[in-house]
Symmetry: C2
Subunit: 231 residues, 2 copies
DNA sequence: TAATATATGGTCATTCTGACTATAAGTAAA
DNA sequence: TTTACTTATAGTCAGAATGACCATATATTA
């Protein structure tokens, strides 16, 4: 009744790929790695790799993300399994895609041993990627657009303390639309999701804005019960 | 560069399981099959099986659902991959769960060759299932609850022509809540999703209600742009 | 001191919501 | 044939939310 294979050996038919979103200066970015070895060496791809027999699929996603980019302890959630029979050359591989939200400033990218480079790309200026990775990215972006309107997950893309304008620009970047500043604030206020840090922005050449953090308790409630972020 | 295995042989590490919801007489049901052979013979389970090298994961889900229950051409969408290393005995198997919405009356269940029985169970009276199938079911039910509030997918559970009360009872069953009849109608009316068939209900012992069908064009728009079904 | 950039708060007509009420149109029981 | 019962369908109304604005405050830089 025991697993006949070593827990460290990989499951040949299964891989992981991560769609990692970052946010900086009002732009929504996506993290890509350049393959250092294998059949797609030199090409850009979503960070990913193989699952072993000893770990859960979720754990594999965490491990791979960390080993390829140095990023850990972030919002990481399963997106979808991609299982077209011809999506991968050489053999049949189904990949389980994950998506993650990162505050870009908090992490310095450290390309791992199978990646020669790791870099942020504007989500609208992505190069051609290997296999079906462009499709996976597209799917992930659409998923994010939908999800951000019903759950307060966008905060994972911001630093711990942020201004209301930063938050608004984040939503504008994701949803590709312009929002009314005053109405946006009113809506956020009623949600009770934000806590005023009683601090001011620094080093800006205009009136400094108040800094906010978000209330994790309310966050849990809103995630459970859903919310409506029609802006 | 060719796949070294026969397209009909199965991918050992991957399976499919389907969470199939049905609706009848105001009750939300779930379809289960009783295994006829193998290590879990005699036990209830979600309908599922193995993926072959020659088919996509989506196609495998369709094939398995049809061969186990006789049901085809329905709303079937991927739910999530479940990948705990110990979820399946004997060997390491990751399963890709799908969920489907069916109008119960439109199909007669035909247990397939590896299932000795196929039967609808009230979603709140489900027996103990094999492996992690109770967890998968739970996940699927929560997913449905969320999704039904942002996309007009509930209609897949109803017959082609239905009354407004039937639609309301469907939402009440899924969301486990009571809704105000008058407000429900007003909201549906504004959505422009329903088309009056200009027909009346028959064989009821009270005033007959108008029958409606739903507008597939509006449906596509609402799925794309999202909607809010706060009732 | 003026120009300008952003912050922050407020107005107001319109629409939406939730809780109710009222009437209509059928069947079934008295 | 009248009455009871069931569901259908329409309407009311106060309060909340929305979208498009406007006004003022506070900071830096020319």
């Amino acid at each position: 009744m025991e697993n006949p294979v070593h827990p460290d050996s990989i499951i040949e038919a299964l891989s992981i790929d991560c769609v990692i979103f970052g946010f900086k200066d009002g732009r929504l970015d996506i993290l890509l790695v350049k393959h250092a070895e294998g059949i797609s060496a030199g090409k850009w791809a979503l960070p990913g790799g193989w699952i072993t027999y000893g770990e859960s699929v979720d754990d594999a996603a965490k491990r791979l993300l960390k080993s390829l980019t140095g990023i850990s302890d972030i919002y990481l959630e399963q997106l979808k399994a991609f299982g077209d029979p011809n999506r991968f050359p050489l053999k049949r591989v189904v990949t389980v895609a994950y998506y993650a939200l990162v505050n870009e400033e908090s992490y310095s990218l450290i390309p791992g041993f199978t990646a020669s480079d790791a870099q942020w790309f504007n989500v609208h200026e992505v190069p051609e990627l290997i296999y079906d990775h462009n499709q996976i990215l597209e799917f992930g972006y659409n998923h994010l657009k939908h999800k951000v309107r019903h759950e307060p997950i966008g905060f994972n893309l911001l630093p711990a303390k942020f201004t209301l304008l930063q938050l608004q620009e984040l939503y504008e970047a994701i949803l590709e639309t312009r929002l009314d500043k005053s109405n946006f604030r009113r809506k956020l206020g009623k949600m009770k999701l934000l806590i005023n840090c009683k601090e001011k922005q620094k080093d800006v050449s205009h009136r400094a804005a108040a800094l906010f953090k978000f209330d994790k308790r309310i966050y849990v409630t809103l995630r459970r019960n859903g919310m409506v972020f029609e802006l």
